[in-house]
């Protein structure tokens, strides 16, 4: 079996060995796919393997913990560089996301959760394009599911507490002032929205964006490398160079998407919380 470009690339990255020479143009191109997102580091193919995204997640937790403790240990009236950065991010989450969406009355309670979600998702997303790490953690579905599960449990518990019991909570899902024959229809729709559609789309949106973005970069870089080295003629080589250059443009586009998705994830979490605590509706 002749080694494919991708497997030779991955073995090259993993073990530091040189890619096997494959005679130039003789191999067929294997387009990057789902299998490129499974990178077991320790534990082989088992379900309990310690994978690359887990390592990235642990690194991000370490960095966030260290950074926020170090930056807020000695708080000064005139902020230093680090304190300024933390204050900017905190102010953004507090004012733009929490206060505007949840409202001035209740937003303080949820600030720690929203701030943690935002910084966590943002750092993990940014790892998708930071050299040497280059793996967006959220492109494995398990990680967005866990984050969504936290939000899901919190907004249901908060809603049950705010409405005072299961029956009033279910009742509050249907907007008031509807004609009688619409109520059963709306009830089914709202139930599906609260219990299925919201969590599923929240998890899938983050996963899908990170997965698609990383795959796009893989296609441009791996495909460009293949065209350049194995294309066989000058035109395809030039196309390979163009593809490589375009991957740089796409990297900046990814930067935008990563910020946007962290923002959207947090704002939707805040929106669901706001729905749970609001008196009307």
């Amino acid at each position: 079996m002749s080694p494919t470009v991708l497997s030779s690339l991955s073995t090259h990255l993993l073990s530091g060995a040189l890619p096997a020479a494959d005679g130039g143009g003789g191999t067929s191109f294997v387009s990057p796919g789902v299998s490129d997102f499974f990178w077991p580091l320790i534990g082989g193919d088992s379900n309990w393997a310690f994978t690359r995204p887990s390592a990235v997640l642990l690194i991000s937790v370490g960095i966030l913990g260290w950074f926020f403790i170090a930056a807020t240990r000695k708080l000064t009236v005139v902020p230093g560089k680090r304190q300024f950065l933390v204050e900017q991010v905190y102010g953004f989450v507090r004012n733009t996301i929490a206060k505007d969406v949840i409202g001035t009355k209740d937003f303080q309670r949820f600030l720690p959760l929203l701030f943690t979600l935002f910084t966590m998702v943002l750092v993990n997303n940014l790892f998708g394009i930071i050299p040497l790490v280059q793996f967006p953690t959220m492109s494995r579905i398990a990680f967005p599911i866990v984050l969504t599960l936290v939000v899901y449990v919190v907004y249901h518990v908060v809603g049950l507490k705010a409405k005072g019991g299961v029956i009033p909570y279910i009742k509050s899902m249907v907007p008031p002032g509807l004609p009688g024959w619409v109520i059963p229809l709306m009830f089914v729709l709202e139930l599906a929205t609260y219990f299925v559609i919201r969590p599923v789309t929240l998890a899938l949106r983050l996963f899908g964006n990170m997965f698609a973005g990383h795959l796009l970069l893989l296609v441009f870089i791996v495909g460009g490398e293949y065209l350049l080295l194995h294309g066989g003629n000058i035109g395809l080589g030039a196309a390979g160079i163009a593809s490589g250059l375009f991957s740089i443009v796409m990297t900046f586009f990814e930067l935008l998407v990563e910020f946007l998705q962290a923002f959207v994830f947090t704002i939707l979490a805040a929106l669901y919380l706001a729905d749970a605590v609001s008196e009307e509706h």
Binding site: T201, L204, R205, G208, V264, I267, L268
Partner: protein, 68 residues
């Protein structure tokens, strides 16, 4: 030529959400241009609408990988 027709389907499925996202941001830009002080309030609404519309495209992407 080999491949998977599901991804062709995804390409078609992405047209709708693409138009939708365009309409949402067009309305947002219009709103801010008419009333610059309403930017903060409109931003939240625009991004919520964007996220809900985009969910359709993301569902398409995931289904393209599932149904093959």
């Amino acid at each position: 030529m080999t491949g998977n027709i599901a991804f062709l389907g995804y390409g078609l499925a992405a047209i709708g959400p693409g138009i939708g996202v365009g309409l949402i941001f067009a309305a947002y830009i219009n709103g801010v241009a008419r009333q610059p002080e309403s930017r903060g309030m409109l931003q939240t609404i625009a991004f919520t609408g964007f996220a809900l519309t985009e969910a359709l495209a993301i569902l398409g992407l995931v289904f393209a990988f599932i149904f093959r």
